[in-house]
Assembly symmetry: C2
Homo-oligomer: 432 residues x 2
């Protein structure tokens, strides 16, 4: 990846001394340096340098630094050592007041790995944010989803794979292409669910419809797919019409809480993050009333190994109302409905790889995105993608696929060998 | 399996009318019948008949009954409709006051499936037992383990596989032999842990040493294996001497809480059930201080999909101090230690199959066991094995293998394909 500086030329092309600083007192310099030292201490052994607003450079102890963080604004510099440092960093980067030199994801990864454990103040802040997180009422969910997913299908088509899958892919080999990996992910999910021709599937949160279409196409199942993103549903319906499968795939613009009818399989890929723990019991009730006695279900979601909200910046700028659950928190969906976990797979490294593909493609389309939106939007998304790479690489985020069934179901797979038999099915290849 | 009546000839060879009953009043008969009707109602649609102490038979609605439960004692009959029905059934069966005709496991399975949801009284009882369950202090753990595992190695060798593995096997095919399935289980665990030659392994709760020996033999690792059962440790040490591997496998008679040193892999198969939720944080601390940064760990245990103690009879007669955790409860081991779940596999049907093998072999050795202990012991163990089959078939119990690592570990398997590549390694076969 080219350095971020190359990619994002801003008015100020190099670390400069903001106007008037020259005339400021020696004390001003000392304060900046003191704050810079605190920043260095906060990232511990990470081989990252800093350039302060006054132009002074603080080099890391490491001989071969990974990169430099250039801070162009004094207020931002001060914000970076306060309790909202995450917001100051994110917004400062988006506004161009912070520049990152070096591979963005690598720099962020090094900082994540080296950062000191959170302070008491930060822990209190986290608790507070947890209490204060937007409740996902039907209306709030619609707003939250609209914020992120209704940015225009053309925007997403610039950098997603050709199937338009906006969730973690499954790379059978680390060097597989993104297109193959997204297809393999859908195959992996289909195999886990052991779908048989003629069965019915409910999909909660169907994105642009790729999985629903894949299942109908390759498994001969009837799918009812729900989503509250108007733009995604319109896109998915158009695909179903174009493929001539409207008879077996129905795209429904509605909330998961309004799912009705029965199904043999319940699948949800990338929606649980948007449900919120206060609604896990609701989701459990929906699955309980929908899923047949011998039915199978799968939840695929971004999670955590320790309970914690998304970072304040991600929650405010990227995914309002979202929450990455631990497996413990997910029990609130399954336990009351007498559902037993059959299989959990953690695909964390696959999401880092998926995001690397997305970021590379996103950067390729930098100019188009900047024209469609603006430079600040580009920088916000760049930070979101690179920061997510770092979060999955360092294990701050995890990716879980949880397969479940009624706790006494007799129709369960004897082993998991069938998931790994041969290459993806011929039908799946033929259809693509 | 032969019918239990054939297998366990008791003094009273057929449902008989206890002495004196003939002369009792019509009212006595009416009371017995009323209780019998309540029993029938309690097992709902299960095709099981009852024979009351007065000789009266209550047939099930089903045309082809699976079996009959013969109750020979009035006090036991009354106990079966009270809040401690589980204890009355277990102890009544052990004493020969209850006889079960038909395939024992099938009859119990039908009852489990058809039983009405628990009453308020039972739920209160469960809460109470949860509060009152024996705490597993170091001394209590030793007593609890001694109660079950120190019954004599020869007793267990009568009906376990030749490797003496007393935990759920892994049947690559449902018709695999028990010997192959226990070997396959050890292979499966070894593959999940991705052991490399020269690495160190800590095993907590090592039974008769089979897994520790298998890992040393097939993977070239050094194993320190802990167990507080004196008889099992003595047996395991003898095996290590006989195999000439005392240099790489050390069997230590000590509690998991006293594990020290460092390891590349931490494995525990069938011990977590005996730890008790109040000590999960202790176990987490042990793993945390023991496991290397890039280490892997595996917990294999009997669990539940909903939180609930073992039945009062199992807890009192079979496994004092034991508790089958849900995955939610197990988070108390992993979360505080920053350990992330990589893989969960539910092997429930495999434990039903394992227990079927054990029960068949146990019955084959009925006379030897009865000579060594007594008829009551035989009947207690028969009920424990058949009841466990029913519990795993119906999903009242589950069997989880949980693989974990530090949440940001970089040395994690890219996919799970390596678990299913080819047949068990040649070394493993050669060594057996």
């Amino acid at each position: 990846m080219r350095s971020i500086r190359e990619l994002a030329p801003l008015g100020a092309s190099a670390p400069s001394t903001p106007s008037g600083v020259e005339s400021r007192s020696r004390r001003g310099r000392a304060v900046q340096r003191a704050i810079g030292r605190r920043l260095q201490a906060a990232i511990g052994a990470a081989p990252i340098g800093f350039v302060l607003p006054n132009g002074e450079e603080l080099r890391p102890a490491a001989r071969t630094p990974l990169g430099r963080i250039v801070i162009r604004d004094v207020r931002t510099l001060v914000g970076l050592v306060g309790p909202s440092r995450d917001l100051w960093f994110g917004d400062g980067y988006a506004r161009g007041e912070i520049e990152v030199e070096g591979d963005f994801a690598d720099v962020l990864e090094a900082i994540y790995r080296a950062s000191r454990p959170q302070s008491v103040l930060e822990r209190v802040g986290r608790r507070w944010r947890r209490l204060r997180r937007r409740r996902n009422t039907l209306a709030a969910s619609r707003d939250n989803v609209h914020h992120h997913y209704d940015l225009g299908n053309e925007f997403y088509s610039l950098w997603l794979d050709r199937e338009m899958v906006y969730t973690c892919a499954y790379f059978r080999h680390p060097d597989a292409s993104l297109e193959d990996a997204q297809l393999a992910k859908m195959e992996h999910v289909a195999r886990k669910l052991r779908l048989r021709s003629g069965e019915t599937v409910v999909e909660a949160g169907c994105g642009w419809g790729s999985l629903a279409l894949h299942l109908a196409r390759t498994r001969g199942v009837r799918v009812r797919a729900f989503n509250i993103s108007r733009e995604q549903i319109a896109f998915a319906r158009e695909r179903a019409r174009a493929e001539g499968v409207t008879g077996c795939v129905e795209f429904i613009e509605d909330d998961y809480r309004n799912v009705s009818g029965r199904c043999d399989a319940f699948v949800s890929v990338g929606m649980l993050e948007h449900v919120g723990p206060e609604h896990y019991a609701d989701l459990g009730r929906v699955i309980d009333r929908t899923l047949a006695g011998e039915g199978r279900g799968l939840l695929h979601f971004i999670g955590r190994s320790q309970p914690r909200e998304f970072s304040p910046w991600v929650e405010r700028r990227i995914f309002p109302g979202a929450h990455p659950p631990t497996l413990r928190e997910v029990s609130a969906v399954l336990e009351p409905a007498d559902l037993a976990i059959l299989d959990v797979e953690n695909l964390r490294p696959h999401y880092a790889r998926t995001l690397e593909h997305w970021l590379t493609r996103f950067e390729t389309h930098h100019d188009e995105v900047a024209r469609r939106f603006d430079e600040r939007f580009v920088r916000t998304w760049r930070l979101y993608l690179a920061g997510s790479i770092a979060a999955f690489r360092t294990g701050s985020l995890q990716l879980f696929q949880v397969l479940f069934a009624r706790d006494g179901a007799s129709d369960v797979a004897w082993t998991r060998e069938h998931l790994y038999a041969g290459t993806p099915s011929e039908e799946a290849r033929a259809a693509n």
